[in-house]
Symmetry: C2
Subunit: 342 residues, 2 copies
């Protein structure tokens, strides 16, 4: 899922997202609650209409943003008090309010309000965070019913890096019967090996017949690992944020477009790529736009990186359908290594 | 002519410019000389190919930018020494170099290197500036021949606000036989009335069978006046720059999209407008994008303002062709007043 934080995938129009073959977008409850406010989006007919996207939308619950963006976060059993990163104003989010907001937005898939365990965290912290997340997940389910919503609702497995806590979290959530299950609290600073271990351990705990979603992971090496483990869904700002910083993913490895060597290079960014950017523009032009801080630079770069990602996912799905995922994995590994190794 | 300073109409793709019906773009010699450098654009096949625009291009000569952007400007008979507004480096532009640069860019219409008279200016200053401009115009003509170019070349009438100097400038340039004639040195801070007077006086001095181009004027009230006087061509950053600042031109007057009143307004920006922005998005969404400083805000706003301008010019041309310009002028005046009055 490409990320459309403020009801827009940064620099892209909804028509372009459709043209790229994006099938579902993610948007951020935390951001839209603060600006423009969910009541406004409700008034103008919901998020799909607001941003003119008629495909599916998933909204996250704000739990991760409260954790990563707010300069203050005070957690109680009732909910979380936090400060807006925009104007410093104080807010109190509860599972019920988060469901109300996601209902007003009218996303197709809502996420439960969770408490994202930092890394590292003591067992005691992780256990308390898990206890809260389970409790809030129940309140979200109840709120969906009380509010008369029909949105799909996904639970989020927490438990930090503790296997038994991951298991406990998964079991408690499965008991409540969600429409899908996410793995939260990863890609928060832990070593890669530990992330893979946790994914490999957690995925088999989740029902095979419901979507399994690894939140916030977008390094395609990690994605490949996670898909091998059975993960079905991902979201990440990596393609879009990197694009705006001039970092581009190609079939021949990662390129920093600002490099001197591209100054008068007439070749396309990636000669094997069929995206609008590669079909029309030279590296020299893309470098010039980037150096001149032109808006078109962000557009063309974003378009290319999203094409790279979405093509990768399309190819991977086809490989899975045709029963040749492991040869796909083997063939893609060197390409991904050239793009995603630090 | 929409302005594509750095080889891009800010925020727009060339396909979108084509879709808007733009027939010719202007690009800035001064900017492209400094970055990426005309030699690089020559190496990758010229400006059309570089920016992927296959319609006509006009390049200005840099005379105005040296005057308006450089922190230092030292004029001699040979040329102008100036400092780059990008890195403070010192450069020396001559008529010959300016023709070399425009030749490397490969624009369809080149402009002579002129010395833009400031406002106010003494008669003595204006006369010297005129003398230089005429001299440099001759050197540009000669350089075009010596360099074996086939670009169209336009002369630029200077003379400040002095009628006899405007006449002298026009006569000297006509004698040299350019492909078109521009009126320079206007919209540099003089009162509107004085600009109109100077245009009204100068246009009839220029040949009717060659294009007459009023440089840098884009307030459509002024444009209407100038067209009545016989001007054929214009360029201005007004539609694009205003768009990025959230100022939008509509059939019902100018709108500042950040205004509180649009917070939950589901209506399109201009209900009578057929552009992509107005066909798809609400004022509430446009306000939200602007307040969130989203790139899509600049895109959608620019698209709308350019559509407004290009539609206006299309309608005006049709009115002229059908011999009903004065009724067009009368009918448009109240709309323009609501958009362009301070």
């Amino acid at each position: 899922m490409p990320v459309g934080t403020n009801a827009t995938v940064k620099s892209m129009s909804p028509d372009e997202m459709k043209g790229l073959g994006a099938e579902i977008l993610l948007s951020n409850t935390y951001h839209l609650y603060l600006r423009p406010g969910h009541e406004i989006i409700r008034q103008v007919g919901g998020l799909h209409r607001f941003m003119k996207w008629n495909g599916p939308l998933l909204t996250d619950s704000g739990g991760f943003q409260v954790f990563s963006l707010s300069p203050l976060r005070k957690i109680s059993d009732g909910g979380v008090t936090f400060r807006s990163h925009l104007d410093g104003s104080t807010h109190f989010l509860t599972p019920e309010l988060v469901m109300e907001i996601q209902g007003a937005l009218g996303s197709d898939i809502a996420m439960v309000f969770d408490e994202c365990t930092p890394y590292p965290a003591t067992r005691e912290y992780a256990l308390n965070s898990l206890r809260l997340t389970t409790d809030w997940a129940g309140r979200c389910l109840k709120a969906r019913k009380d509010q008369g919503r029909t949105q799909a609702l996904f639970g989020i497995v927490q438990g930090g890096m503790y296997r038994d806590l991951r298991r406990q979290s998964a079991e408690e959530l499965i008991e409540m019967d969600f429409d899908g299950y996410a793995i939260g609290g990863l890609s928060v600073g832990e070593p890669k090996g530990l992330m893979h271990e946790t994914v490999n351990y957690t995925v088999p705990l989740l029902p095979e017949d419901k979507p399994r979603y690894l939140m916030g992971v977008g390094d395609l090496m990690d994605v490949l690992e996670a898909v091998a483990a059975g993960v079905d869904m991902f979201d990440c700002v990596m393609p879009t944020r990197n694009a705006r910083n001039g970092t581009l993913f190609t079939g021949r490895g990662r390129i920093s477009i600002k490099r001197e060597e591209f100054r008068s290079d007439p070749a396309p960014l990636d000669p094997d790529c069929g995206c609008y950017t590669c079909r029309n523009f030279s590296r020299a032009y893309l470098r010039h736009l980037f150096m001149s801080r032109e808006i078109l630079s962000m557009r063309l770069n974003t378009l290319h990186n999203l094409h790279f990602y979405l093509e990768f996912f399309r190819k991977m799905r086809r490989a899975i359908e045709q029963g040749r995922f492991s040869s796909f994995r083997k063939a893609q590994t060197p390409v991904l290594r050239n793009n995603f190794n630090e």
